[in-house]
Symmetry: C2
């Protein structure tokens, strides 16, 4: 028998309760143990048919030696950080889908887990149900991952999809997302790229082996994505996606960024629409590989959480290596890494060509839109100095 | 130290040699053991810089107690079946990318592996580098998989992509695929769906728990895919893909089939073009999930093979459950399961509507093309009896 305490009873928490219940027999068969949900930490009591599990004081959980696994589904870092740390220090496995917590404190918490010979697991923190963390850790043993690019936030992908497919403006699409419950009343964590940034940091931590703090990562959201650029790109088989990207730069530093990118009509990142998430990896032996699925939601996230619970139950001690502590100097200056850019300007094609030479013009008319050769942002900004720039986007 | 014997030195075999060499340090770090390739079974000697590993008699490998893992990269079933069986009976793990072998003898061989407390691993047999087998086995513990649909053959996907994107006929596209080495001189295993059928059988074995023999699965290839239908479908955002599909039918039987399907402009199966493979799963808690990547090639397949080697080295005994032996009566009659169909006919829309009612007409002109409601193939064939049918395709 493995005993579980759940912290939090919101969207993810109720999903975990449901999945543990609807898959009880299957989980027992797979692990050879009955998984018992003993406690659910809530702020105050209310009526559900399993309210006897409710506790309001974390100490009950922390001090109960029967509890093997603590599932953190509170979100944020206060009090989640304190609780997770305390649980690990008591030698309990912790499973969480809290990207803010892992992006900020993952390295420290995994070190505590390692000391206590238990695990901190967080598949649900990146890409919801998609097993990208498991995949990177277990399915690419014979590879070096050179880069990762992901659509890691369903809310912004929904908004961009509405802009692309229904020609809605950002404001209209955001309002619709809020009505459907995909976006919060204060949507900034999603639309300003903060959530995506946390997730790409976690993927980069695992893939490249150094803790990357979100505050050291250049992050742009989708508030300024213009419907004009969406339309222009559509004519050449391109679309705009909010991506987290990370790759090894030429100088060995890590290039990591969250920003809207132009993606052309090919492959999985282009095809992942609506609230779906996708992560694409470039590897040396396996080549391009991608994972796709539901990036959020009660049951999909709970699916990842419960899968992590199973890994903990089966685990004989700590399974995965801890990445190294952060070194801010290991992050490349994002303006110094050569990329292709999409630029729209009020100037004519003539003037664009004077500055950029024989560049690929993709639209002419009121505005001129073009795709540059690979260049650093430093060089781009100098080149754009005399032009009436309307928008600049990076090309994946 | 884990000692490995490789059977065969063709495309996959040389890939395995390369990956074991180029990732030696990483693999040692991951497994805690040095992986030594001790023997390579070849039919006759020739000059490579590791020719001291060549042996021409399988007995050398079978009787060497130092060999922990045998990698079968010969292909076909004779002598692969005999060698794999003998290796397992000697208590050696076997890793193979041989879909014919696993589709035919997987259940028997896994039972021998289980008796001997070793593993038969075959990630490379389905979807090349894509970790779909690992994913189904390890990342969906909290789910029931309701269906799987996959583009599992790169050659046919390349041919269909050329037909879709460059309006080439099947014959022209096949010839180009042969020139590029994607298709064999005798392309029938690929273009007639035989290879895809073996792979969907293996996925179905794992997901649904019963061995399914390829000869019990209705299989259609792409030789009769018409450029006219490709073009018609393009106008409504559809394309034709050769899919292996398997799902639980209403009566509890397994509906499994290999055939060209119409896929509409959404999701990963539509986006997987060229030689790429993709497998899409419908699950109850995680929802839709997909895996995408290189389905063939020396290094991608070797990536999967070597990942399996790592799992064997880390394994403490048999890891995965054996599926049950085949029950032909568990396979549903494919003509009795309701599906939507695409039909093109030389008759006019009037006549189509007389027979099918208010059906969705997607093209009128020389031919009328339409998408039916869900119906069984038995009912469809009766309905089509009076029409001048040009083609019929299933809609995913």
């Amino acid at each position: 028998m493995a005993k579980i305490a759940l912290l939090g009873h919101g969207v993810v928490g109720t999903g975990v309760v449901n999945v543990l219940k609807n898959k009880a027999a299957q989980l027992e068969k797979l692990t050879g143990e009955q998984l018992e949900l003993k406690y659910i930490l809530v702020r105050h009591d209310y009526d559900v048919d399993y309210k006897e599990k409710f506790v309001t004081d974390f100490t009950t959980i922390e001090t109960d030696e029967e509890i093997d696994i603590v599932v953190e589904a509170i979100g944020g870092t206060d009090p989640a950080y304190k609780y997770v740390k305390a649980a690990l220090e008591q030698g309990k496995h912790v499973v969480t889908s809290n990207k803010e917590l892992v992006a900020k404190h993952g390295c420290e918490l995994m070190n505590i887990a390692k000391e206590k010979n238990v695990n901190l697991m967080f598949e649900g923190a990146v890409g919801g149900a998609i097993p990208v963390i498991h995949g990177v850790r277990n399915c690419l043993e014979a590879n070096t991952v050179n880069s990762v690019a992901g659509i890691l936030n369903g809310t912004t992908n929904y908004i961009l999809t509405k802009m692309i497919e229904e020609k809605q403006s950002f404001d209209v699409a955001l309002k619709r997302a809020q009505e459907l419950g995909y976006a919060e009343a204060d949507p900034s964590a999603d639309v300003d790229g903060i959530d995506t940034c946390r997730k790409i940091c976690i993927l980069a931590d695992i893939i490249f082996g150094n803790h990357i703090l979100p505050e050291n990562v250049h992050t742009e959201g989708i508030r300024n994505v213009r419907i004009e650029d969406v339309d222009t790109l559509k004519t050449v088989g391109g679309c705009i996606k909010l991506l987290g990207v990370a790759k090894r730069a030429a100088d060995g530093k890590l290039f990591i960024m969250t920003a809207p990118h132009v993606v052309f009509n090919q492959g999985i990142l282009f095809a992942a629409t609506d609230v779906f998430n996708a992560a694409q990896l470039e590897t040396d032996n396996a080549g391009t590989m991608a994972f796709y699925g539901r990036g959020a939601g009660s049951l999909p996230t709970a699916s990842a959480v419960v899968n992590d619970i199973v890994e903990c139950v089966k685990a004989d001690g700590t399974i995965y290596p801890v990445w190294d502590d952060e070194k801010p100097e290991a992050v490349a200056d994002y303006k110094s890494v050569p990329l292709q850019f999409y630029v729209a300007t009020a100037d004519g094609a003539e003037k664009v060509k004077e500055t950029f030479g024989d560049v690929r013009i993709i639209a002419e008319g009121t505005e001129t839109a073009f795709i540059t050769e690979k260049m650093t942002q430093v060089r781009l900004e100098t080149a754009l100095d005399g032009l009436a720039v309307k928008s600049v986007l990076r090309v994946l």
